[in-house]
Symmetry: C2
Amino acid sequence: MNILDQLIDALRVLPGVGPKSAQRMAYHLLQHNRSGAQRLGLSLEQALSQLQHCARCNSFTEAEICERCSNTQRDPSLLCVVEMPADLAVMEQTHSYGGLYYVLMGRISPLDGIGPRELQLDKLIERASDGVVREVILATNFTNEGEATAHYVGEVLRSRGIKVSRIARGVPVGGELEHTDIGTLAQAMVERRKL
Amino acid sequence: MNILDQLIDALRVLPGVGPKSAQRMAYHLLQHNRSGAQRLGLSLEQALSQLQHCARCNSFTEAEICERCSNTQRDPSLLCVVEMPADLAVMEQTHSYGGLYYVLMGRISPLDGIGPRELQLDKLIERASDGVVREVILATNFTNEGEATAHYVGEVLRSRGIKVSRIARGVPVGGELEHTDIGTLAQAMVERRKL
């Protein structure tokens, strides 16, 4: 494979990018945005070498423990479990929550071969069992997979005597947090119910 | 800006990738395809440092003159002008053409600030004036921009005494009149050929 085809092929690692898009992207970068392409290459390298999972919330960070988890202003007795960092970000925008987070970095999805083991739920259980956390708030998506994840995680944590709640179903069924309006999401946080 | 945000920002150099997609791509790469991300980074670097424009056809190549232009089996008296390498590729798939190519790497597009100067038409004129080329076949798209490009390029080359033609426009092979758009059909009528 020549170098151009290698680049086109490499671009297909991006989700949602098929052969045609990859081709268009490669031509665009080489022809019109070489400096952007260079920046992208460096950013990838830098991110791969310097980003790691926060030892507490599991999100991406440059430090061992991220800024949010190190913030003593936040309530360490509340732990909100979300699927992805994007969900955490949108939850923060509601300004309705002052506790800490745990990011699953995925969801239980048998069709994709992602079960409890792949999600490394042990890490969450350990985090939730630190003796400081008094309530775990499940804020996974209200999709089938997010619901299944909440159900499973809830069962596991409750069986260990941890108080668990689920954000309210103000979010439309089938909806994703990332695409929910802020007001609805704030309401869902306020109305979380005990499981 | 932290390293994750830098990566998300860098991914937006890709055409058609907005903030949400870039975020999703970054998480996907970091979480699920680190080796793919590494390959992409290396491919970008390699492509930027090793690919250049073929001195004859202007397409991307690792050599000074690409394989196709070096192929003595092809007819050097015919020069087919296309917008992008993808157009060249699809033309080759027809097996209906044995001449050489010139790739504009774009099209005249005033709205995008791309005029004759940005397209470096001098390079095409020089190429077409090598004394060997006897006919330049314009195979730009039949979009407004492609048509404008063909018109302009045609004028310039003809004024230099070079024979210029345009690939035919009409009802597609296998196409039914009933399902052909009116513009194409009208054009096919105007440009009817004597049998």
